[in-house]
Amino acid sequence: METTPPRGRPAAPPLLQVDSVTLAFGGVRALSGVSFEVQPGSITAVIGPNGAGKTSLFNTISGFYRPTGGSIRFRGREITRLPPPERARLGLARSFQNIALFRGMTVLDNIKLGRHAHLKTNVFEALAYWGRARREEAELRRDIEERIIDFLEIDHIRHAPVAALPYGLQKRVEMARALAMQPEILMLDEPVAGMNREETEDMARFILDVRAEWGATVLMVEHDMGMVMDLSDHVVVLNFGQVIAQGTPAVVQADPEVGRAYLGSGDVQSLRAKLQAAARQGVAA
């Protein structure tokens, strides 16, 4: 299996190493022997058909699932047994496929929450709201306002309760919260699902900017092939819990197995022709 260094960068020791990870739920094998590496500063995409195990892989990396076998290393350190909050503290930040915002909080509080693991205020300071509590909160607020809210262009909703926001904005708040976690590695699970082209482009721009301005490494799961192929340095293809291919977008795209299992095609016109053909065939049958 080949691993290509990210475009235009010298090879560096990998930031994240997933080594023959296996995960089973009763009879269902969600992951079997998955291995790949994420290079620092890269954008790595995990793609694959529905049910291939992508989200399970993310859950395993962030510690929500314990793998049945294999190991995960972050900056060379073994984290397979580390509880999730510890991993968050190390800088493994993520967003969720099924939006997991805290519906009882405002956008701002949701984002603030992301910083939790990096703050130090204890109960007594909190009850008195004095000293460190006051300082930390002020600092956090400024940081979030200036670096995240402005950056993601969500200033108009900062005091809105998240529950009533439209889907696309909720996704953006998810991203904001992940950014507030001070990510070393930012894991995005389907960041542009439910977005139209325009919004997808916005999100793509954010992702590029995050890497450029924050120096974060990005690991994402996404079904929008246009975006994946354009943005990623490295693509990992999962099918039935196994890595069936990985490499640069060009390499992956050329892999015939990947095409069969996964990739769709075309613009409106050709797609229309294809769909109509399918329908006619159905009627005839």
Binding site: P85, F102, M105, K112, L113, H116, T121, A126, Y129, E136
Partner: protein, 345 residues
């Protein structure tokens, strides 16, 4: 969205009370609290103290149930722990009042944290019943131990502070109300910081909170601890207030009372806890006043008493059907109305 206020800084935006009107209201409320004891009759002072104790305890429960989402029906038992601790400390060691209150708080806190241990696995109503179990176990201990005076319970001397015997509602008022205000302030502060946010996150979705960096067990225990600390202190105040502590002083119905208070008032809102506790404590009394105003009350009272039960229940139902998010939500709505008035569409 509010109109007409423009924040100068982020700190100002995060302040508890942010507008000039709010400061004015606060000043008025403070003045009223200060004046009240000098104008009110013994009965109203008594009620004020009782309300304040209930507000303190309800606020504690609100931390646990309203903000952290762990439904507890053990608040009365934790109050009992606090009350017994205070009574025992006072009788055995004669320690000073404030220390006793703290002691009551801490013992209750320990109790709360022990009860909180199952909360990592056991959730929702299942957990609520575990807290009921805990309160029955507490009752059993109260009723069957020597140190707690068995079923007869313990009687106390009035509390002493600065050489003054706290033996009237007037004097107790000056202990109970300030302590309650301090506790309210603490709770309000808490939810401006990472700890309060973590509680809310656990309430909304605990598993994702964990992945975002919140150690669940530690925070659930913390919430249980804080909540029962509040209960314990409130229970201590209760002990100084009634001066008799028996196993039957803290029945399950009292826990339900507190739960009702925060639900009717509005869960996850400090104001909700206050409004709810005031409502639940005062409504039965006010209903009595209404009955008294009716002519020929003596004979009528017999018949009207069950009517009061019905009206009380119906009020709870009516409020919730009308506004399931509680009194605090109604208050917010009214405020919004006046803020936007006359620009409402």
């Amino acid at each position: 969205m509010r109109i007409g206020t423009f924040k100068e800084s982020y700190t100002a935006d995060a302040a508890l009370f942010d507008s000039r009107t709010q400061h004015a209201w606060l000043a008025i409320a403070g003045a009223l609290l200060l004046l009240f004891p000098f104008v009110a009759s013994d009965y109203w002072l008594y009620m004020a103290c009782l309300v304040a104790i209930n507000v303190a305890s309800a606020t504690g429960l609100n931390i646990l149930t309203g903000y952290t989402g762990l439904v507890s029906l053990g608040q009365a038992a934790f109050m009992g722990l606090g009350a017994y601790t205070v009574a025992i400390m006072q009788a055995r060691w004669g320690t000073p009042l404030l220390l006793n209150l703290l002691g009551g708080g801490f013992v209750a806190m320990l109790g709360g944290m022990v009860v909180g241990i199952p909360s990592l696995r056991v959730k929702g109503l299942y957990l609520a019943i575990v807290t009921i179990a805990a309160s029955f176990i507490a009752h059993f201990l109260f009723a069957n131990f020597q140190i707690t005076g068995g079923t007869a319970g313990l009687s106390m001397q009035p509390g002493r502070i600065l050489g003054i015997d706290l033996d009237t509602s007037f004097r107790l008022y000056w202990l109970i109300v300030p302590v309650m205000l301090l506790m309210l302030l603490g709770a309000a502060n808490l939810f401006r910081t990472r700890i309060g946010r973590a509680f809310i996150a656990i309430r909304d979705r605990d598993i994702s909170a964990e992945v975002l960096g919140i150690p669940l067990l530690r925070y659930k225990l913390l919430s249980f601890g804080l909540s029962s600390f509040y209960a314990g202190v409130a229970g201590g105040l209760w002990a100084y207030f009634f001066r008799v502590v028996t196993p039957e002083s803290f029945p399950l119905s009292m826990s339900i009372f507190f739960l009702a208070a925060i639900i009717v008032g509005g869960m996850g809102s400090i104001l909700g806890g206050i409004l709810g506790a005031v409502f639940m404590t005062m409504v039965p009394e006010l209903l009595k006043l209404v009955v008294d105003l009716l002519p020929g009350s003596a004979d009528l009272a017999v018949f009207l008493s069950p009517v009061r039960l019905v009206v009380f229940g119906a009020l709870i139902i009516g409020f919730l059907v009308f506004e399931p998010l509680g009194l605090a939500e109604m208050w917010r709505r009214t405020r919004r109305f006046f803020h936007l008035w006359p620009f409402r569409n």
